[in-house]
Amino acid sequence: MSEKIGNKKLGQVREIAKPFISVFLALLCGGIIIEIIGENMGNIYQIMFTGAFGNRINIAETLIKSTTLIFTGMSYAFAYKCGLINIGAEGQLYMGAALSTWIGVNLTGLPAAVHIPVALLAGFLGGALLGGLVGWLKTRFDANEVITTVMLNYVAQYLVSWLVTGPMKEQPGDFPQTAMTQESAYLLNILPGTRLHMGFVLAIIALVLYGVFLWHTSSGYEMRIVGQNNKVAAYAGMNVKGNVMAAMFIAGGCGGLAGAMEILGVQHRLLQNFSSGYGFDGIAVSLLGSNNPLGIFLSSILFGALKSGGNAVQMFSNVPAAIINIIQALVIIFVVIDLVSKLWRKKMVK
């Protein structure tokens, strides 16, 4: 009996320790690559850590990045819970950014209390429409969502590139960018002396809503059943197609909100290629966080830190910020193949 309880406890410890060990192993492998290109691993990681948490401003920059990552992470997680693999958060982010920029620039004379929510809603819609398109292609034509989302990422980025050099270009102006949004559409600052904005709070609220919807409402339960086994769900009389459409729409909306965060909270105008791969980072955020709210929150902080630390590394050493992508991919691989359990079990057997 006591042995059983001991095993159970050990199992729980393992579940909690797993993501941390996966991250540690990924950092170690990243370190080997850093050594290969002739830099010192300890040195680089120290620059990275200082870049992410060294002072108040750096911490704020990390949390700003986490904010956007929470939304792209939720975008992947939401679709995943319904059995879909959404690689399209990047494109959804661009569409959301475009629409919220348009609202931010062109609606004038509104109080912030109105302008901000409307601009956020526009961001949600921009992404949701693109996600909805994927859902429609999936349910109506059975088109593989992995490929359609990847293709739409390119389409969305070219569309934004056209918008900022054509119809939405700042007038008069020589740069491929839109005008600045009205100040009434700026997300409010929550930490004076830094750029940290209220989006961070909104992201946490969104995470709570995500958790409540999926685990504490019957619609959310239905969506998860569809995700686990759509044949069983259909047999039980659930509307599989409707759930797939809804999941892609909302997942797209989360991606769109990520874009709105970047525009309304940080950049305040639309530029070409302004996202440094936030949509793809979201995949790692979601997987490392086991698709649950607390997990997504914690891993968004980690990847936010890696992102701002990566920028510091690129600035102060010869290691490019792309080293972050390597670490990220390794985290995904280690989590997906459940490397830690495998190593752990072998050790136990011995």
Binding site: I33, I37, G38, I85, I87, L137, R140, F141, D142, A143, N144, V146, I147, T148, V150, M151, L152, Y154, V155, Y158, L159, S161, W162, T165, G166, F280, I283, A284, L287, N318, V319, P320, A322, I323, I324, N325, I326, I327, Q328, A329, L330, I332, I333, V336, I337, D338, K342
Partner: protein, 295 residues
């Protein structure tokens, strides 16, 4: 006569732009036929493009560069399938992780070898061999026929298809499904590497970060579009190649269409093909499913 030249030139450019995708699609076809979905083809192609340039740069011989690229992508593909088969994981998520990984690896290494601001070094890539096309183009299209014969006329080809279609039967006759799939992945990876190398060494003679630009995914779509046969895959790739060639034409000419819309053509074409024509293409029955021995 002028029109004749125009059509001839367009055809040559279609064939040339289709070639890297064709290599990758054929590699994917071999893997998919054995039951493995390689969503990581995009990253493996990028790896091939990078290693091809590095290999050529260091050895001074483009064919040695191609060999390096094939070896690198072949190993990557083998590793992918090893993970997918032994750990029985979601092949799609694993593939996406491989894409992110090789995107990061190639960018990091290319900056450390070539630097960021320096002008790209001169690399001697492929030269035109016959009718204004370099040799790899002929190899790619020759491979279509070779794989067709291999699949439908030889025992090993049959074994690969059986592993994807009905793995239980393969085990019953005493063969290892895992081994067949691993070997198919190695073979497929070699082709994907060649495709990547031709992407960088066929025209530009240099490596650009993320230069595969979705071609790995387009190749995946082409395999389904071609109904999982070598000849069908080739026709699908030519169609996509046509879209890409058209895009270059539209960009080059002073057309009224903004260049961004021209750039979208291959991607939009892929979506339309997926939606309208691929629905009924039935792939190998055991595609993407992890195989567990029944004993």
């Amino acid at each position: 006569m002028d029109n004749f030249n125009l059509i001839g030139n367009l055809l040559l450019s279609v064939i040339r732009t289709a070639t890297p995708i064709l290599f990758v699609a054929l590699g994917l076809l071999v893997m998919q036929s054995s039951g493995i979905i390689n969503m990581g083809a995009e990253g493996m192609m990028l790896l091939g493009a990078f290693v091809g340039v590095i290999g050529t740069y260091w050895t001074g011989n483009v064919w040695l560069g191609v060999l390096c690229a094939m070896a690198a992508s072949g190993l990557a593909s083998l590793l992918f399938s090893y993970f997918a088969l032994t750990f029985q994981v979601n092949q799609v998520v694993l593939g996406v992780a491989f894409n992110i990984l090789f995107g990061g690896v190639t960018t990091t290494l290319s900056r450390s070898v070539f630097g960021l601001n320096s002008a790209p070094p001169k690399i001697d890539g492929f030269h035109d061999a016959l009718f204004g096309l370099p040799l790899p183009v002929y190899i790619a299209f020759g491979l279509v026929l070779a794989i067709h014969l291999f699949f439908y006329r030889t025992k090993p080809g049959l074994k690969i298809r059986a592993a994807g279609e009905y793995p239980q039967a393969v085990e019953v006759v005493g063969l290892s499904v895992v081994k067949i799939r691993l070997l198919s992945s190695l073979l497929g990876g070699l082709f994907i590497g060649f495709g990547g190398a031709f992407l960088s060494l066929g025209q530009l003679d240099f490596f650009i970060e993320n230069m595969s630009n979705g071609r790995g995914y387009i190749a995946l779509a082409a395999v389904s579009f071609g109904k999982f046969t070598p000849i069908g895959t080739m026709l699908a790739v030519l169609l996509f190649g046509g879209g890409e060639a058209l895009q270059y034409r539209l960009q080059a000419g002073n057309s009224i269409i903004p260049y961004q819309f021209a750039l979208m053509i291959p991607y939009v074409m892929t979506i339309i093909a997926l939606a309208l024509f691929i629905r009924n293409a039935s792939g190998p029955a055991a595609l993407g499913k992890p195989y567990q021995k029944s004993h």
